[in-house]
Symmetry: D2
């Protein structure tokens, strides 16, 4: 059995486990005030080339979205997101649980088109009833998106300019950020993101950590008494070292980028296998998630040999499935998949 | 200056004012425990032909929606509504403020098509990730809708059956219910609504009262300690008599139905005037709201003589406007409008 | 049957009913934008001698407290109140429902002692764990208190200075403010309150209105887009005229003060009767609420002739009851009470 | 430098680190559905001798309290706690953030006296205004308490009976449960707790884990769709294995009890040192936290050699400090402390 089910099926990168073991008996202060958190923050600031960035560590993606969005929105505001945005679909209403509405925009393969955002913002303020409506108070994007797609630097720049002109923050959910930055088809760097976004997070859970996301506030805009607000939301980890040590390891000797690049290399090999075995792409993407259309019975037959994610029904007889690579994917697994697909003559 | 701006531009029906004056110095207990509240509840039960209905009075529509929806949903549930539903657009996020998501469905002139609801519910439970998503826990409809349209008895019946089969309540927002029930083109009665819906409210604010909405729980399903939950939401009126006396008056000698019928009669005369003066309908409806397309400059020119509601831009040169009649509209106003539109040669 | 049960047992002062009737068929814009709201706001600003005050009308006291407190607190803050404060005991958790904690201080007959507040604030910031605790973000006081007592000008000044030095607003709940201002034993004027408090409300419900409270922001500190936040909380009245007309009447020709003074005059007569009939005071207050200790059986015997409020058990054989006067109390009722108590020889 | 600052200053017990390393590259499903979670749950059920218990893993204590309390309370209810309860003081308002009030009772060294609970519950329902108040919907206790004290079996039994008679759950916060169960002065077993409490949690963070708490619902009373409610609160860990593997290790070969017993053994040695060096106890407890009164200048002088927790000011010249032992405390540290205190001749 091989698995392309997701990018969080293995534990942590072995160097992380090693560091956790090495530091285990050190006496460290709690709640993120230890030296590893400090060191990790400094390394992230340097990687972003943003010396004034404020970095905070949280445990998971949904928690991070809820904490960041709810502490940055004003009472009368909601957050703009693509209809397919993770916060709008797969977080069980975690944003609404903070008393804020997710304001849906249409999507293009998971992305918000700058033109769609511009039109929405303009029409909102043109509406004479807008004081009875939820104000757009932040724009939320994912990069890579839920569909594995990427914004271009030009698109990000336009979104950023729009946000600036309306004085609302642009927030980038980087749950899979490493795979986006290391894509062979991107012109967006970590430095670009730190320049163009007001706040973003660097995903750890899906890129080699046991858990953890690093939030970066780029404009000296971290909400005041952020630690108290984090605690209020049940999101403050007593042994903050668990997050600090992991991110310190990930940002030592470019580990985060190297293992992300490995995930992308595996994705490129995966795409080659999929193409050469004549699979039908639903969406071929520049990152670590690929979407394929399979007949239902073939999907069922393969389920015993290879784990993939059911995505959605395509039609009565076909389904869309997702295959994900990651830092832990091996070439052997890719080869096994080729054998399986060859043998099946799909 | 005449006004078709909305159906809440005047005070209350004169009989309501008279009753408030007559009862003013009576000593009555507070918080909705007085004899007028009791009497009004009994009259509403009878009008609904639903002897087991539980009736409660609240002050306004947004408050009513937030109280009813949040006390009936379970923690993991949201409320299904048309994209154009009042709770989804014009209540400033009042539902999200109770920690629940509004789950958008497409609309047909403000209505949810039973087929669309069926497809959504089926696909939700078919999705293997649905425990990461907000569960559909209630269906919210407006009748008349925000576009003045009405459900047929057949449509209501289908929605009701779907809700029953998924064991979730059907909730009808009747802010303008009187105008729907007295429409010349409806086959839906108040009794039908009490039979088909699990909970609904009879709008007072837009149908002759100074304020007030009567919530009707039809299936012995009023949330336990509802009064405490109302108080917790800041929605409990100390002098509950203000609501009881008004609804007692509205449901004495069919006043509610008579004044609603007057609003519909005025709407029929309005439609005649609009047609005979060759206005371009955006939407001609069976209730008290009519939607017309005007050139922007004509709209501006008329604004000094007749008040209407700007609804939305139609194109660069045209706008959609809404004209509403109500219990307080007079034939004289309709005649004045005809003169204006004739004179304008639009 | 006579009643001293509360100060909201009658409808509205007759002049208010008259004004509602006179203006009833006027066409007015909704949501508090009508001319009566404007006029009432201006009259209140003048009565407060605070030309820069921002005035907003809400419907009831619990609603007002929840809206004001939750829109003024920051995410990490709670509101400081006496243990006996209305928000801490009798509002069903309406403040907590906005995600904020009520921080209890001990009380002295319903009042917060400035010394107790000073000690609490000092110790809070001295605690090295205070970032794990709810920050004090506002001080809430009632005047008159739930026990009918009043702050002196010196006490109010000290509380105000403390709040200023910690940069947190002082909020005064004036549900019964008129009876406090017209007390024979107060040195606090409405102007003092407008000077010393950052925000307060002038109670209408208990002082002659059918409903309604006037919130006064005294320091140009009304939260931005307050109307949207009010709507989000289900507290925006469509026919705002109902509040505007009532407060316009109350602040025309000093009606608010005159009827409050009547309530106080009746309270003075009541106290005389209670003393002369040898009732045992639990608390004799300078405002419209008096607290008496009765034997349980006498309480039960009197219940058919005079309505009072049960307050709490005093001991196994005695209870504390509250007798309230108001703008609607008559001398005849006081005389009837005297006869009852004389006859009873309590 | 030695540290008695808290029981979460070290990483995890070495066997936990070893198990994380051994299992690291296994492919496991996410969100707590893996085999290690299953195994850990079964072992916990057996340790509790409660075969029908439902066990769920969460990340930290504040999160656990907020999730459990808010999913078990009804809308109109709050949670009863000692004034000193962790949820009432040191969780930054996390319970109020879920829209529920913490109802304070007086404490006796951190404990709720059964008599105080009985009196409160009785008086609540005797109050004729209780529908305007927050209903008591759960009783929250800590064991050991924040003061290191323990309930006796008799006290727990009385609290449990009271809760049963009012039909509200008894919830025990066991952040430090191991140290309570292994105390030399307790008659309460894990089985007792599973029998007497409706829900409780077994703390991992302070008893050898990197993070994690195991919630045990003992009466088939786990809230429906609990996983969705956990996700909604941002508390669902993608790599649930991190929690499953740790608790599986802790409940293999009684590791949890053995390391807790070590913490208690160290506490007994600590108490001996404190007594023999004539320290002044503020509170000598049967568990792993001891409270000492020190002169401020001595406290400052010692701070460079031994880390302890400042607890509170005792008077102008003295402070209360807390010394905690844990699974990671060594005899060498105790000896060093003795030398320090001897040398200091405090």
């Amino acid at each position: 059995m091989i698995s392309f089910e997701s990018d969080y099926i293995a534990g942590a990168h072995p160097q992380i486990i090693a560091r956790l073991a090495e530091t285990n008996m050190e006496i460290l202060s709690g709640y993120g005030t230890d030296k590893y958190c400090e060191s990790a923050k400094e390394k992230i600031r340097r990687a972003c080339r943003c010396s004034e960035a404020e970095v905070e560590f949280l445990i998971g993606g949904t928690q991070t979205n809820a904490v960041v969005i709810s502490t940055m929105l004003k009472d009368y505001e909601g957050v703009v997101a693509a209809k397919t945005g993770h916060i709008n679909v797969h977080e069980a209403g975690a944003i609404e649980n903070t008393n804020h509405k997710v304001l849906e925009l249409p999507h293009e393969n998971g992305k918000i088109a700058p033109e769609a955002l511009a039109a929405y913002l303009e029409s909102f303020y043109a509406d004479c009833n807008h004081e009875h409506m939820v104000f757009p108070g932040m724009v939320y994007i994912t990069h890579p998106t839920e569909y594995g797609t990427l914004y271009t630097k030009q698109e990000l720049t336009k979104l950023s300019e729009l946000c600036q002109s309306y004085k609302i923050p642009l927030y980038l959910d980087g749950a899979r950020l490493g795979y986006g930055l290391m894509s062979l088809q991107t012109d967006v760097t970590l430095e670009d993101i730190a320049t163009l976004c007001d706040v973003f997070y660097i995903g750890g859970t899906k890129v080699g950590a046991l858990c953890g996301e690093a939030v970066v506030f780029t404009k000296q805009n971290k909400p005041r008494y952020f630690m108290t607000s984090v605690k209020k939301r049940g999101a403050l980890l007593a042994k903050g070292r668990l997050l600090g040590i992991q991110f310190d390891a990930l940002f030592t000797d470019d580990l985060y980028f190297k293992i992300s690049r490995h995930g992308i290399d595996m994705a490129e090999q995966l795409k080659t296998v999929l193409r050469e075995t004549h699979q039908r792409f639903y969406l071929e993407t520049p990152t670590n998630q690929q979407f394929i259309i399979w007949e239902k019975k073939q999907f069922e037959a393969l389920q015993e040999k290879v784990a993939v994610s059911f995505w959605e029904d395509y039609d009565n007889e076909h389904v869309v499935v997702r295959l994900a690579t990651s830092w832990s994917t091996t070439e052997a697994e890719i080869h096994q998949l080729r054998s399986l697909l060859d043998g099946k003559n799909l």
